[in-house]
């Protein structure tokens, strides 16, 4: 079940989008998300959608794979649609049911919100689909650097993200192992009421926390033994440098924003 969620996963393939600088992709996603909140009419929506479709095509990530990500949050999408249909007031009443009235404006609004939500999710998952976690952390670390002066610990945030990513598979395995070990002692995680179920988690959570703390302790020592002393005077093996493609991409992003503004002014 957990494995079905494609948001946050990396899709390994060689594409121009994959090879772009992660910083650029982060900024582009950020710009695109802001645009999504500004656009307001059919034309700008259509244009933004077209742009996104183009990027998906270039990224070589199969549409099916992206759609699977949307499927995992279908409940949220339906919920958004219903809320919008029911709460938007308007004059063109389509249907009336007791307290609720469905108006043309409501349907219009709901469609807009759902499309916006889907575009939001697709664009942000496209970022993680085309960027390895490690590139992403490096990108975030770099982009946060200017904020170091106002106290944002950019290196520490990035290091925490890396370690979290590194230990997620380990801790998932561990959880599985502890569950089985307790099941072998007759534990039952399936039947029983809510309280019983919550109680039955104690024999899993306690060993899991203990193990996580032990791992953290040992990892801290291993990092220290390898001369880790925070972000100061630290170099990186892979230095991010903008390539020719990155400049083209920058031009595309600027072009997109300019076109969007023109469409908004003209229409």
């Amino acid at each position: 079940m957990i494995r079905d969620i494609t948001i946050g996963q990396y899709y390994m393939v060689d594409s121009p989008i994959h090879s772009l600088d992660p910083r650029l992709k982060l900024i582009a996603t950020f710009v695109y998300v802001i645009c999504l909140f500004i656009i307001n009419d059919v034309y700008t929506y259509a244009f933004s959608m077209l742009a996104l479709a183009g990027i998906i095509a270039v990224s070589k990530v199969p549409l099916k794979f992206i759609m699977r990500g949307i499927k995992s949050i279908i409940v949220i999408i339906i919920f958004t649609a219903i809320i919008n249909v029911l709460t938007t007031k308007g004059t063109h009443v389509l249907y009336e049911l007791g307290w609720f009235t469905v108006t043309l404006e409501g349907v219009y609004m709901a469609t807009k919100m759902v499309v916006r939500l889907i575009m939001l999710i697709v664009s942000s998952s496209l970022l993680t689909l085309t960027t390895t976690p490690i590139q992403l952390t490096d990108g975030i670390e770099y982009l946060l650097k200017p904020f170091q002066k106002i106290g944002v610990p950019s290196h520490e945030i990035a290091m925490m993200m890396t370690i979290a990513l590194r230990f997620i598979p380990t801790l998932l395995d561990e959880t599985d192992k502890i569950m089985k070990a307790q099941q072998a002692r007759g534990a039952d995680f399936e039947t029983g009421g809510l309280m019983e179920k919550a109680k039955s988690l104690v024999p899993i959570l306690v060993p899991l926390f203990i193990s996580a703390f032990r791992r953290a302790d040992e990892l801290a020592m291993a990092m220290e033994a390898r001369c880790y002393h925070g972000g100061d005077n630290r170099t990186r093996m892979n230095v991010m440098a903008l390539q020719k493609n990155d400049y083209y991409a920058m031009a595309v992003i600027c072009g997109f924003v300019v076109c969007l503004i023109i469409i908004m002014l003209v229409m």
Binding site: P169, E218, H229, R236, M237, V239
Partner: protein, 289 residues
């Protein structure tokens, strides 16, 4: 004589706080008591001792993860008590730990190997060169773009060794690196460290429970209750079967057979450590008939 590690009356005390009968008490333990150890540059030393004997504490001392309460420890000529040397010490004496899972930092093998040199502030093209060459040295080049979680225990340990090697150390301290591995993983790790010792001249301090691993060392040190109780070549150590057993340790199967035979009056050499030596010794004896 040039020593990589030199301990002079080394003492290490630690206090443990615990709760008993609803009050907090502290107890002081002497984990290392007047330890004098000299480890020559380029040698391969095995340290034996049961769990809690103080051998891991000694390993951490070499890496300046903890420092002496009393006495002095020099690592590559640096006094570990002097804080200004801590990075030089850790760079010259790298450390590999027991649990392969809990010492890999990054999500990709080569990024993890680069972690040490990155901390040392080495220039990036230089790091790339080092990472490629050390992965070659431990035979893990084919895995450099893989996620460590997909590797076997033995492979993870070799990555950990590569990570230490990338800092260009003169000495590697391994704290029970094979304890959690299967026989195949153990063999790979042992081959890697013996090769690094023979070919690159790196000093190896290997802490282990496996006697067949200790047999491969130039020197064996036995620690019990924080005291160095035995020291010598593997042959000198393993002939003392009774003494080793009293310290909760083992001897190789063949050594024990030779010991039993001697007890029953057969004049077979006591310092037999491998099956080949045993076969050789028996042939010799048979010739004398």
């Amino acid at each position: 004589m040039d020593f990589m590690v030199k301990a002079n009356n080394l003492k290490y005390e630690y206090t443990r706080t615990f709760e008993a009968d609803k009050e907090t008490r502290t107890e002081t333990f002497l984990a290392l008591n007047d330890v004098n150890i000299n480890i020559k540059k380029g040698s391969f030393v095995a340290i034996l001792g049961h769990n809690g004997s103080g051998k891991s504490t000694f390993a951490k001392q070499i890496n300046a993860l903890i420092t002496p309460t009393d006495g002095t420890l020099w690592v590559n000529g640096y006094d570990t008590k002097k804080e200004e040397f801590v990075w030089d010490i850790r760079q010259s004496a790298g450390m590999v730990f027991q649990n392969p899972d809990n010492q890999i930092v990054a999500t990709i093998v080569e990024e993890d190997v680069a972690f040490g040199p990155e901390n040392l502030g080495i220039e990036s093209s230089q790091i790339r060169k080092r990472v490629d060459s050390v992965l070659e040295a431990v035979g893990m080049s084919a895995f450099k773009r893989q996620a460590p979680s997909k590797l076997s225990g033995g492979q993870k340990q070799r990555i950990a060794i590569a990570g230490v090697l990338a800092m260009k150390p003169k000495c590697i301290v391994l704290d029970e690196p094979t304890a959690m591995l299967d026989p195949e993983g153990r063999k790979d790790v042992m081959e890697t460290i013996t090769r690094l010792n023979k070919e690159e001249g790196i000093t190896i301090v290997h802490i282990t429970h496996y006697m067949d691993e200790a047999v491969k060392a130039d020197n064996v040190i036995v620690i019990d209750n924080g005291i160095v109780v035995m020291e010598g070549t593997p042959k000198e150590i393993f002939v003392q079967v009774d003494k080793l057993k009293a310290y909760g340790l083992d001897v190789p199967q063949v050594t024990e057979v030779a010991y039993n035979l001697r007890k029953r009056g057969i004049n077979i050499p006591a310092d037999i450590l491998t099956p080949e030596e045993m076969v050789g010794a028996i042939c010799q004896l048979k010739l004398t008939i």
